[in-house]
């Protein structure tokens, strides 16, 4: 533990009360930034960044919906951009204040969810696949590995309706974001059947159990897998053959924020190749910044080759009626 970090914490504790510098409040996923980058932004601009973290989009939305949460910059997943902008929660981006937009990877220059990049700047992306224990589980080809009775009691799924129901749909050959009642009922049956074998519905904290060998196969995000692999070389990550969801978390500015220009400066700062690379390296995530890729090792887990990437699907926001139907399915699965 470097002494610098210790001093950093101590001064932070003191600074928060007597500081006169302009403030910027950034609310992001918990492991998504390199603290050093925040410090350098603060030094460069002479501002003070208050950095809060959350574990799910809903946690962030609960605050953003109030309209006076006090946060300036948030990082919603791509499917949330449209509904948030429709509900007047987001500020429209001013490209004149974002000169570095060109640094984005070409795949994210005109994303289908926000072609004009009007609401969010793609920041980090990841996929949901299967993390597995190489010693005891052979390379999974599809989602069915998470249904193999051989691994009963050692399988976990994400505690997220979109991912679980989506995986069941893909396993049956249906589209990830299907709204067809028949297909969804079939997916529901798959999920309930899987429960017999299931150890738990559990998110990022499954990493320790996978590394330790408690869990042999887990539905997990590619970024969690990457850091698990760093912890234990015998862990693998597979992109299922039937397809897999891709999620891009985008930096957006809340309409309630009164620091519009400073927020843009922060977004542009994040787009600098060396900053994006540092954040991706420390947070162990895949960056949407094309220029930064040159500075980063091509980890196949984080950056799947094009043929595999092509099988990925970017789930759109579901209409509220379909969303409500899935929420009910999720309760039925859980209560089964």
């Amino acid at each position: 533990m470097s002494r610098r970090r210790f001093l950093f914490a101590a001064t932070a504790g003191l600074a928060c009360s007597t500081d006169r510098r302009p403030r910027l409040n950034v609310y992001n996923w918990s492991t998504y930034i390199d603290p050093a980058m925040i410090a350098s932004f603060e030094a460069e601009r002479g501002v003070r960044v208050r950095y809060g973290t959350y574990e799910s989009n809903e946690e962030m939305l609960a605050k953003a919906i109030t309209g006076n949460s006090g946060w300036d910059v948030v990082f919603p997943t791509h499917s949330r951009l449209a509904p948030m902008s429709r509900n007047g929660l987001l500020a429209r981006l001013d490209h004149r204040l974002l000169p570095s937009l060109g640094k984005l990877d070409r795949r994210f220059q005109k994303p289908f969810w926000d072609p004009a990049l009007a609401w969010g700047v793609p920041y980090m992306w990841n996929a949901t696949g299967i993390g597995f224990n190489r010693d005891q589980v052979e390379q999974p080809s599809g989602w069915s590995t998470l249904w193999s009775s051989k691994l009963s009691g050692r399988i976990t799924m994400l505690d997220d309706p979109e991912d679980v129901i989506g995986a069941c749909l893909l396993k049956l050959g249906f589209p990830f974001d299907s709204t067809d009642a028949g297909q969804l009922q079939a997916a529901r049956a798959q999920a309930i059947e899987q429960k017999r074998l299931l150890r738990a519905y559990i998110n990022a904290e499954v990493k320790d159990q996978l590394v330790a060998g408690d869990v042999l196969a887990a539905q997990m995000w590619s970024i969690t897998a990457a850091s698990a692999i760093r912890g234990n070389g015998r862990i693998g990550f597979a992109y299922p053959g039937e397809g897999f969801p891709l999620y891009c978390d985008c930096a957006a500015i809340l309409r309630e924020s009164r620091r519009y220009d400073l927020a843009h400066e922060f977004l542009d700062f994040l787009l600098r190749p060396e900053v994006a690379a540092a954040n991706a390296r420390v947070a162990d995530t895949a960056t949407a910044n094309g220029a930064a890729l040159a500075l980063l090792p091509r980890d196949p887990v984080l950056y799947p080759p094009d043929d595999i990437y092509a099988r990925g699907v970017w789930p759109p926001a579901l209409p509220s009626e379909a969303q409500r139907y899935r929420d009910r399915l999720w309760t039925e699965i859980k209560a089964a």
Partner: protein
């Protein structure tokens, strides 16, 4: 404003603004419909309440009642002898009582995590059992109803022991001696004298454990591996992932109504005046 009500004024004002008013809003929400993206909007409807009659939610209610009831029974079984021992250990009474309460002073989260740390496959128990070759592979203690029950009993046992201790402490020792004198062996004395007389304390303790268990969500969530849904999880889920605040409000108001009725029944009974 008579002098006496001055004392009540601060509490009345504070509870009116920061408890009653918010609760009124939640009641209003329970009659509204879910907004397009979270939040609430017109029209007014009782659909949220009728929806609760759906068998799916009734199974969740039944499951919660079942687990909360079992946890309460376990707390009673484990708590009664402990309370009896403390009530009859003379000058160590206060110290022992503080010992029972000590873990209760620490954070609810910390206590629940402690069990995660002990019950995991690589947790303490499995490591010891493996080291002693008593088992070949780690046992799965975690992510099942057993773990949830253990968590509930562990966290809410003091809620039972306290009122039980208060009742047993007032039990006249001469009654135990009289029973023995009349030929009753210890267990007969327990069955025919101690338990009937301390029934009010048992009732109070059970209610004080049952209500939090019914609404628990952190313990089932962390120790149950998200595989089982109790009322608390349902309500929590509506307010977060499902962003269905009206239905969440309706479900939670029903949960509160059940708890309030239970508490009111306890209040009216003679025991409450003694204990609470």
């Amino acid at each position: 404003m008579s002098a006496r009500s001055w004392y009540l004024l601060p509490a009345r004002v504070w509870m009116a603004i920061f408890f009653a008013a918010p609760l009124g809003i939640v009641c209003a929400y329970s009659f509204l419909t879910r907004g397009d993206y979270g939040g609430v909007e017109q029209p007014w409807t009782i659909e949220n309440y009728t929806r609760l009659a759906d068998p799916l939610y009734l199974t969740i209610l039944w499951r919660s009642l079942w687990i909360a009831g079992l946890a309460t029974a376990l707390c009673a079984l484990l708590g009664f002898p402990l309370a009896l021992f403390i009530a009859r250990s003379g000058r160590y009474r206060n110290l022992l009582l503080q010992l029972v309460l000590l873990p209760f002073w620490t954070s609810f989260l910390v206590r629940t995590y402690a069990w995660l740390f002990i019950l995991r496959d690589t947790g303490l128990i499995n490591t010891i059992l493996l080291r002693l070759h008593l088992i070949a592979a780690p046992l799965q203690f975690l992510y099942n109803d057993g773990a949830v029950l253990l968590g509930l009993v562990y966290n809410f046992l003091p809620f039972f022991v306290l009122p039980m201790y208060a009742t047993l402490e007032r039990l006249d020792v001469a009654l135990l001696e009289a029973a023995a004198d009349l030929g009753a062996r210890p267990f007969a004395t327990l069955r025919r004298v101690v338990i009937p007389i301390s029934a009010p304390g048992i009732a109070a303790g059970s209610v004080l454990v049952f209500i939090p268990c019914l609404g628990a969500y952190l313990t089932p969530d962390l120790l149950g591996g998200g595989k089982s849904v109790m009322l608390g999880n349902l309500v929590q889920n509506q307010f977060t992932n499902a962003r269905d605040w009206p239905f969440g409000s309706a479900a939670s108001l029903l949960l509160m109504l059940a708890s309030a009725l239970l508490l009111a029944a306890l209040m009216r009974s003679r025991v409450a005046q003694e204990l609470m």
